[in-house]
Amino acid sequence: MSGDAPGLDAYLRAQEKKDLLRLITCGSVDDGKSTLIGRLLYEGKMLLDDQLDSLKAESARVGTQAGDLDFALLVDGLSAEREQGITIDIAYRFFATDKRKFIVADTPGHEQYTRNMATAASTADLAIILADAHRSSELLTQTRRHSYICSMLGIRHIVLAVNKMDLVQYDHAVFEAYVAKYMAFARELGLTQVECIPISALRGDNVVAPSSQMSWYRGPALLPYLETVDFGRESSTRPLRMPVQWVNRPNADFRGFAGTIASGTVKTSDRIKVLPSGQEATISRIVTQDGDLETAVDAQAVTLVLDREIDVSRGDVICAAGSPVSIADQFAVRVLWMAPEELLPGRTYLMKAGTVTTQATVTALKHKISINTLEHNAAKTLQLNEIGLCNISLGKPIAFEPYAESRDLGSFILIDRITNQTIGMGLIDFALRRASNIHWQNLEISRSARAAQKNQKAAVIWFTGLSGSGKSTIASALEKRLYSLGRHTYVLDGDNVRHGLNRDLGFTDADRIENIRRVAEVARLMVDAGLLVIVSFISPFRNEREAARNLMGEGEFLEVFVDAPLDVCEARDPKGLYKKARRQQLMNFTGIGSPYEAPENPDAHLDTARLSVEAAVDKLLSLLEAKGLTSA
């Protein structure tokens, strides 16, 4: 055997001592990001023979460098990327030198893929922003955008790599002029640690070794800089925070709280406080499979056992008792919008922050940020890749820290409840104190007591469907039947509510969302009062109907799809609205100028083109009976 054990041990120890720098390359299309990474791997002798062979073969076949090695092919790993010669998504490459290990993420330059760039930036310690010396008369939009995102996400170390110096005859003045422009912008962003390096990724100047072509440049070449930059984070010196990820209960004798320490250290016999509940306890054990620990530090994945039984579940945060985090349910946040559908204030989304998932609504969009000028502009919505400052309101209070203090406890994603897509990422700037000033009144008579007094169970029967589908007619007939059965009922009708409570609202998407939000809240109060509430609203969007469902308790919400084809509704046209809409006298009319999203799994589906009103009511009554809502 060839291995020499003592020598190897020393070698492995040296490997273990190396720290890992996570970096990204970003910048505009064609600034040479992929080429730079390829050059780093190649010059650093980090490409293995079979990888180099297949690179040679692919370069000859589909390369863009006239037969020379096309380094972009090393990172553009998707067929679509190689066909189009563009980078669509992040590629992660791993390499190590004698001094350090690196994970470098090559990010897409096109604006449409900004969300992928931001994904990579969120976990990076350092960003290389490439610029093209040949196109250096002004800062390109993507250079600004990527710099902004890096600063927003708190990447402290920036390398401005002014690339393609070979195309400007390695001219010192070109470099200096560009650096001056960039640094002015960087100062506005608050980026302080910026290292500016003139390079040619294609020719290898100043990539791994100083270039003989640019003797005027006295600074380090890129790789030596990456190997030595001090990027340490000091989260061990902050107070303990551990979001509880999973409760470990293999048997009745063990109850541990599994999680990864976000900051600080924890020791046995430390006093801790659990947020949001505020209960305190003492750490009795720090459990790992390798044996119990006395101390655990940030980034370690552990299981904590407490000295007494308190209620702790996923989403809670275990903190040092002496310096707990705050809790709040309303925040000022910055959001990068990542979906093709616009952000709608008032719509309820899901927010995942740390290990908590809860409902979240943008209550106010204060402004969006212009990437070019950094100006704040008024906005009603955010489009794909736009960044906005908003107020956000959650379904329940969460334990948090501002992003500036904790990446783990101050970051979140927004998820669409219908498509399940990740549609936004954001950072908490600060909590809005409003939440803590309005306390819930705990009333002594409960909702079930109120319903029981009426000898019934309370619920919402939610009718949705096009105008003219028969909602109001059936709702009214259903109420009559329920009334005759001795039930206490109320009908909330779209037209009637718009005459009063909602008369300030129009028919834009945002107003329709607010219309439904208000009527859902009113319905909830009525359910609280013990009533059977029939809501008869077009309620065109799945998302808001889902939000209404979530406001009610389990089994308290029945969705009824009052369904008739558009042409049938239009032929009925009881209020003459379709005619007006067709004559363009009525904008945003559901089914004509505005979409209707039919329910996917309604509790009842009434085909009113076939069913009589009586038959529809009979069908609903048997549903209500099955749910135990018609009897006492």
Partner: protein
């Protein structure tokens, strides 16, 4: 004062400890948020590390999911023996799935070619097993440093009802906020070893004394040379071509798959230190020994699109 005191006790985690913690976080996230997870167990070194990490993540509980091996019926015999020994030793719930349609049709790597064979016995087999048991999340041991299309994949990789991967439209995955939401029938492939390199894997196996299949260690084995690869004659099902005669050579495997498709390397490395030493000097990547990666440019991506993990 407080700060000074704390600074004294601050330890920095090593690179491998950080990777370990990251993988454990990912696995716990799957268990906390998914309804019916499963761990794909391919018996190789990465699976061994993943299993070891799962034992740590949920300790003192057992990993709260079964392990699934999609058996193509062409695995090395030593792999199957190792699988049985390992799952028994750790007390795991093992599911072995064989695509019986493929067996009935007699699909094999020789008459059907590696591409069709892999598609039927591995990819289709995997999809069948996931559908049959209704698993909504499958932990896999793939690493981003293995291959170019792997390098592009998210840690939580969303799959459609038909198990398809849409590489042009992956969910953004900022920080470590993994979105596990999906509709009925859709599922997620999760790769807790995404950020590990091949070297990290071996170094960890060495430090943590994790058992691996003996085929990784050099030994005299019967092999034939085919298409520039050394193929081990593991049983009498390997059809020998005219003039081909198995010869004994000291070889080992850097990666393990189906024996007719996995090339050995000539090596003297018969201990973990020797393997690490060999790797530090290696001039070829581990995938060089995988015939299925040679089915043309983008072959891994195509297989992944079809539902290969």
């Amino acid at each position: 004062m407080e700060r000074d005191r704390l600074l004294d006790v601050v330890q920095r985690l090593t690179h491998l400890q950080r990777l370990e913690a990251e993988s454990i976080f990912i696995m716990r996230e799957v268990v906390a948020e998914c309804e019916k997870p499963v761990m794909l167990y391919s018996i190789g070194k990465d699976s061994s590390v993943m299993l070891h990490l799962a034992m740590k993540a949920f300790y003192p509980a057992k990993p709260p999911f079964p392990v699934l091996h999609v058996d193509t019926t062409w695995k090395f015999r030593e792999m199957i023996a190792f699988r049985e020994e390992t799952t028994a030793r750790l007390g795991l719930d093992l599911i072995v799935h064989v695509n019986s349609d493929g067996v009935r049709q007699g699909i094999n790597p020789f008459s059907h070619g590696s591409s069709i064979y892999t598609n039927v016995m591995k990819t289709e087999g995997l999809r069948q097993a996931l559908d049959r048991h209704g698993f909504d999340a499958a932990l896999g041991g793939a690493r981003r440093d293995e291959e170019k299309s792997r390098a592009k994949e998210r840690i939580f990789s969303f799959r459609s009802r038909h198990h398809r991967w849409d590489p042009k439209n992956q969910r953004p995955e900022p920080w470590k906020l993994y979105n596990t939401r999906k509709s009925k029938g859709e599922n997620i492939r999760v790769f807790p070893l995404s950020n590990w390199t091949e070297f990290d894997i071996w170094q960890y196996i060495y430090l943590e004394k994790i058992p691996v299949v003996p085929l990784y260690f050099a030994k005299e084995r019967p092999v034939v040379r085919r298409d520039g690869m050394l193929i081990m004659v593991d049983d009498d099902r390997l059809p020998l071509e005219p003039g081909e005669r198995p010869e004994m050579r000291k070889v080992r495997f850097r990666t393990l798959g189906c024996y007719p498709l996995t090339g050995a390397i000539e090596s003297d490395a018969d201990t973990l230190p020797a393997i690490l030493d060999e790797m530090a000097r290696a001039r070829n990547s581990e995938r060089q020994g995988r015939m299925i990666d040679r089915d043309g440019m983008g072959s891994m991506e195509r297989k992944k699109l079809e539902g290969y993990f």
